[in-house]
């Protein structure tokens, strides 16, 4: 994890932002796309033993969902199911201290592993009444709230780029995690899509 004091020490997000505060990168009448720069992210791998999941959840202060494609939530801290033995824990504020403790204290089964992937992907937020329609321009997933609810997440494609999609909160705002090297392309694609959107 990177300590906050480095954020103004040369940290630049994949979209060129230098602040922790969400920055609007493109917007239209009914939709806004923001980047939440420097969101701490931890890749957690383990065999899905309920006991271990529970203990880990306690330690990370967020429920680790056993059910596929679901999100555990505690305030702004999220735990996304990625695979039967993989979760992504993210927190726009700070995950560092908990993780430091995690790794220090140890005591986990030998195949439990943690990888800091905070800078591997950046977090976009798509919000507004047209957010879902905009995603539908390039994402094959059914994002109807009755199908893809607040506790759902999914790995899929958006504009032919791998993304992790989830509902940022109860509202119509979506979180889109995209790998750093693809972020500029994805925003260019969203910008182009928006140009035609309100024609």
């Amino acid at each position: 994890m990177v300590e906050q004091r480095f954020a103004d020490g040369g940290a630049v997000s994949p979209l060129g932002n230098r602040t922790f505060d969400p920055v609007v990168v493109v917007a239209g009448p009914g939709v806004e796309v923001l980047e939440h720069s420097f969101t701490d992210q931890l890749d957690v791998r383990l065999d899905p033993e309920p006991a271990v999941l529970g203990a880990l959840g306690d330690r990370l202060r967020v429920a680790i969902p056993a059910e596929p494609n679901r999100v555990g939530r505690d305030g702004r801290r999220l735990a996304l199911w990625l695979a039967p033995d993989e979760w992504l824990v993210l927190d726009p504020d700070n995950l560092e201290d908990d993780v430091a403790r995690l790794t220090m204290e140890g005591g986990w089964p030998p195949d439990v592993t943690f990888v800091d992937v905070s800078a591997h992907r950046t977090l976009l937020e798509l919000r507004g009444r047209d957010a879902r329609a905009l995603l539908a321009r390039g994402c094959p997933l059914d994002l109807d709230p009755r199908v893809f609810g607040p506790d759902h997440c999914a790995q899929t494609l958006l504009a032919r780029v791998d993304v992790i999609l989830f509902r940022l909160d109860g509202t119509d705002a979506f979180g889109v995690l995209v790998r750093a090297s693809f972020a500029r392309y994805l925003v260019a694609w969203l910008t182009d899509a928006l140009e035609g959107f309100y024609a």
Partner: protein, 883 residues
Amino acid sequence: MSGWRLAHGGLIDRSRPVFFTFDGRRLAGFSGDTVASALLANGVDVVARSIKLGRPRGIVAAGTEEPNALIAVEPGLALRRATEVELVDGLAVRSVSGRAPAPAIDETPSEHVWHHADVVVVGAGAAGLTAAQDAVAAGGRVVLLEGGHAAGPLPDGLVDAADFVFLPRTVAVGRFDSNMIVAHERRRGTPGANTAARDRLWHIRARDVVLATGAVERPLVFADNDRPGIMLAGSVGVYLQRYGVAAGRRAVVFTANDSAYVVARDLQAAGVDVVAIVDTRVRPGPTADAGGIEVLSGHVVAGTTGDEGLASVLIVPRDGDADRASPTVVEADLLAVSGGWDPALRLLAHTGARLRYQPSAGTYGVTEVPPRVRITGLAADVNGGVGAFSTLDPVWLVPAPDGSLDRHFVDLQRDATAADIRRAVDAGMRSPEHVKRFTTIGTGNDQGRTSGTNELGVLAALLGTTLEQLGPTTFRTPLVPIPMRVLGGPYRGELFDPVRTTPIHGSHVAAGALFENVGQWKRAWAYPREGESFDDAVLRECRAVREGVGIMDVSTLGKIDVQGPDAGAFVDRVYTNRFSTLKVGSSRYGLMLRADGMVFDDGTATRLADDHFHLTTTTGGAAAVLDWLEEWLQTEWPDLRVRLTSVTDEWAGVAIAGPKSRELLARLAPNLDVSAEAFPFMTVRNEYLSELPARIFRISFSGELSYEVYVKSWYGRALWDAIAAAGADLDVTPYGTEAMHVLRAEKGYVIVGQETDGTVTAADLGLDWMLSKRKWFIGLGALDRPHLTRPDRRQLVGLLPDDPDLHVPEGSALLPSGGLGTAGNVTSSYRSAALGRTFALGLLAGGRARIGSRVDAQVAGWRVPLDIVEPVLWDPQNERRDG
């Protein structure tokens, strides 16, 4: 001049006249007209000359089945049908004779949309609207597609229904596996459309599909059946009802079913003089109400006369040759024909369903419908052969009095006649597919809507067989022609394919770098200075690394985090050389083979802890390598407790290479002991650069003293700039991939994908020393196959032209001493600043044994002799690298 506009009626807005030009003629119509209806209303009967014979042709139909009235729309000259282009003020169109002029470029992209529905209803006619209402009432998400533009007003139940999407001007172009409906929504150029409007290509996943797609009327095949004024009866009715246009003043109706009787009555009511209804049937059907019009039952139209347009029709009894000599001649400018109807069920065929001839319905249809698909309305009636549209006793070919067939047109757009079908039969063809290809019937842009069934009917008649015996027919996507730009969608220009850039990309741009595509990455290729050539820039960059210090962005290298109790064992299996013995804090160069023993990828593995490795891969191979390792783990070795995580984008990396790199690193990491003893080659250190946590590898792909510094990618740009600043007085020089390629080639280091092409083994590259003898690895079992151990395999060698300035192009063939063929090829070739000459690497048959001798390369047709040398030309003792 035969067609005319009725005083009232139709769905057009008579308060809004619209002016347009057709082949330069200025004409008027009304809002709500199509070009076709307006042309008819203006009495234009000749709309095109036929493609082969140049015969005059008029409007035949009112929809997508129209074969004749092709137009090019100014200014883009996009090809359309007059029946599908809505009239807008200032519209300018020109007639087309079957083949379109080259259209202009339209750079407006289209939108692709993914959608999900419980029910998709195709067709918004009465039956479609009912189906949509039912579906909405039943709850769930409903989409209603209407290909046409003039769909009636939506019923109340639908207008404000939630979860209901109505898409007018939207054609379902295809139905694919599991009810995937792909539909084209026309928005460009539609009345009132914003010029920025983009056409949409919908991809709709539907649980259920309802086909309310109607039916297409068939013409009848008789002599001179192509004259302007001869139209499909149902279409004549459409022009009457929807556009308030009568297609003629004096009409004859020629039908084989009851459906045309309504049209006859409506024409009569509209003031058209309907002389007679010629019915092929001796006993017309129950719904055949002529309303007082004379009916000649059991008769056929055997021919027509006329100059540009229809003048008269020749009527004879269907049976009884005697009367053929003296047909009844009736003057008429309109002949409304109905040979029967085909249900519009092509969407079913797109996923493999075959349409078979149904004698009970007199058409091609289906007896069983695919799961989760329903057919309703006219399509269902015609398919089932019920009601006024069923044609139980179709007449496929009306003989001409003189027995000729060469003016019996089957495909008007292709100018193909029954005589062409006869020629195919005479040539020995029996299959409808052969006949289609021989005659080109059905290959026009009307996709054979009005000709396909008649072709088979005529063929059966000529072969004296039945349509059942001719077998089923099938149809291909798209349902109607669709512009390529709509299929291409938004993926054009820079958006054609995802672009990957590193965190340091901006610095390269600022430094004036040229970029090359490596996979999806943009990599800095070289940094030419003002007025400096590419080659000179590369030489300068190489010299800087050999003599001073250079820096390169290596962030694109694939990086895989490998953890778990069995990490060591796993890494041993996937690399050819041994890693389980590697000390923590050390790195090793590793080679991966495919299962067939061919070189797959290379990189380094660094042991960060007993159960923790950090792997690097080639830039292009990163994704494939991770997939490959995951595949073995999941499908072959589930017992291994290992986790793989891609951290490619997590880390940004900068290589610092050259004799002065140690000094530069020392400035960056004052607390780090960078001495050769404390920080030897192929080891790693974790260190803070100012306050920035960094992972520093002492590693080299240039053959010089060299380091690779990695930080969280957020800090990549800061790292690059910090290094540049710290090394300013050392003249630190950014170098690109081209210089890197030269430097590694001087050292004889291979690049996977350049020295290898999937047919090269480790031994071929002189890397057999990397094949562990003491452990198993992927590909091992394939290595002793006979052909892989032959001494004459193509092996890596160095190659030097006599002329130190001659650059042998990469890819040049290495030639055998005599005869045709190749003995190998040049894989890499560069000008070397360090060697002061050009040099090359190549793969040469039995090359290693030939070191010291010569071989000819073929350069632009000449044989250029080369010295065969060891592939390592720079610092073979590795003193510079390891010192």
